[in-house]
Symmetry: C2
């Protein structure tokens, strides 16, 4: 009834307990013949090594923790995909992934968990440029790798979206459509100032690519709500009436922009093009028209994050893995050739559907 132990395997294969262990882990050489006998015994018994016992004896639990901010802003389908991919990657390397949803504010909570010696390492999501958590983790002395990267990611493994490249790609695409006045809708100013990586890096990328294209960078901070999106958009259009395209960092605000555009009679993409800088397909397809968007490689990031960590745990001279992945452009219905902005203020058609919410 209860699970077979290594001892039973050993008896059945007529070898010592330790030999079974060596055969299982390849820790010491075992003759071809013996190994065969042991394997046979194992699967006749349906043997699976006892994870806790193995962990206790070897001081390596083969469990890693995924640290993610509970109930955080902007958590959605993308993150789920990420988490799933991480769990799968862990599983395929023989590890387990535990979820530790928490905000870390002091060394306390986390240290308490770490001290339980349940996990070999920690994977951290959503890292800011100067994230205190990194210092904390280092002080605690637990192996970790991160998704996102701090300002100076000198000696830690990470995997992150290449926001600069993503923004450049998006803007380049808009320029290719003939747009010349392109605005960038960032996250809230507080995020930017707090060093939130996506915000800071995308801004840098935008600045860079517009300058390189000989254009004037126009950008705005904007809270992550539809209302903020509307307000900022209105102000933006008043200040820069010739803007024909928008690259946006946050989806809720984007919806607000679309509302506001509709209210002033602008059609998307005829009168205004919008490209969302980081949107999963699921979300991008919810709007009308569906959003042309840069889609984050969530699954790859999750996988990469886990592998970076595990490599670090297993190899002694772990070469640091640090990887940047750009988002992939998926053209949907929200982008088109640049209109002549002058012909736009009084749209060819009619007043659109008013706000209803």
């Amino acid at each position: 009834m209860s699970a077979p132990t290594m001892e039973e395997v050993a008896r059945r294969a007529n070898v010592a307990l330790s030999t079974v262990s060596y055969a299982l882990n390849g820790t010491r050489p075992v003759s071809e013949e013996t190994r065969m006998r042991i394997w046979a015994a194992m699967d006749e018994l349906g043997y699976q090594p006892h994870a806790l016992a193995r962990g206790l004896a070897s001081k390596r639990s083969r469990i890693i923790a995924l640290l993610f901010p509970a109930l955080s802003r902007g958590f959605g389908a993308t993150e789920l995909e990420f988490v799933t991919a991480a769990a799968e990657a862990a599983q395929s390397r023989g590890y387990h992934l535990v979820l530790w949803p928490m905000e870390i504010h002091g060394v306390g909570d986390l240290q308490q968990l770490i001290r339980q010696s349940l996990v070999d390492g920690v994977l951290v999501m959503e890292v800011r440029l100067n994230d205190e958590r990194i210092e904390l983790l280092r002080r605690i002395g637990v192996p970790f790798s991160i998704i996102g990267r701090p300002a100076a990611p000198s000696d830690i493994g990470f995997a992150d979206i290449d926001f600069e490249q993503t923004t450049r790609d998006a803007v380049t695409y808009l320029v290719g459509l003939g747009h010349r006045q392109i605005a960038f809708l960032n996250h809230a100013e507080e995020s930017f100032n707090a060093g939130y990586g996506p915000s800071v890096r995308a801004a840098a990328g935008f600045e860079q690519v517009t300058r390189a294209a000989g254009l004037t960078p126009i950008s705005r901070f904007c809270g992550d709500t539809a209302l903020a999106g509307r307000e900022v958009f209105e102000e933006l259009i008043r200040a820069h009436p010739k803007v024909t395209a928008l690259a946006t960092m946050n989806e809720r605000a984007t919806v607000g922009v679309m509302q506001a555009a509709a209210e002033r009679g602008w059609r998307i993409p005829d009168d205004l093009s919008i490209v969302s800088l980081v949107s999963s397909a699921r979300v991008a397809e919810m709007t009308l028209p569906p959003l042309t968007a840069m889609t984050p490689p969530s699954a790859e990031l999750g996988q990469l994050g886990v592998e970076t960590l595990i490599d670090q745990l297993e190899e002694d001279n772990h070469e640091l893995v640090q990887r940047l992945l750009p988002c992939r452009l998926v053209v949907r219905g929200s982008t088109g050739p640049s209109p002549d902005p002058a012909l736009r203020s009084h749209p060819k058609s009619v007043p659109p559907q008013g706000p209803t919410g």
Copy 2:
């Protein structure tokens, strides 16, 4: 440097190792005074019990697994919220939650994981009415509880959305707005036939509430894509031109419906009301207008699922917990008073923005 052990605590408190254990777990009486000394020693050392050792010795790992279908249909923000809540609930009861993303097709994979004795129990998401997984789990002999419920949930703990009630509530709300021809947009027929719980139960609820209100139930199956939504909507309106309100089961199709409605010049909610039967706020706010929706109690479900399982693990005479939670109606912009359908076919305003995708 390395974590303190129970032995060090014992030495420091001048008691036997076992006494520390008793003090920690309350397994046997320990005098007030001794207990104080032990506590003091513990937090001077920053002691945390070693999870693996504890698990090995007690045969209870205090780890539970969340089994969820990898890369499944319809996975999004709602599910993430659910997972987060589950992890938090586990944590607050002193448990850890590991993620096991997998499709179970045979007893094989799962049994292999179970045999590692890593987890005390399993929480299963997304259960169909006649889910083979339940039989499997029972055969494997691992404690489990489920989110969703099978056709005859006689003796297993579960937590589920009350789809019947939710649908009734939604339709009642529409009826209250004056709608008399209300259609129900279900998931795909295959899901229904496969016994997918939400699909089957919502259908039952719809049938019931419409009949009770003296209305004729109109319903359609519909694939989970915008295209399917458009097609089914067109067919529906041709067959039942007087339909003024829709209760929809799936978000992608809903977007298709909104497109199709816009194409024929219908405004939402002036010409057509839509209530989404299971939508998280995040998604419902992405559309234009934002969707009035029944919002699932994801967090509560996650928490309830975990607690059901843990109760079952800890109490000997575990009274079976079986709970149904209805979704909460959140009115947004997609519902309004019933129009006179006769006045609708040639809408007051203009041809809307065409399809762009």
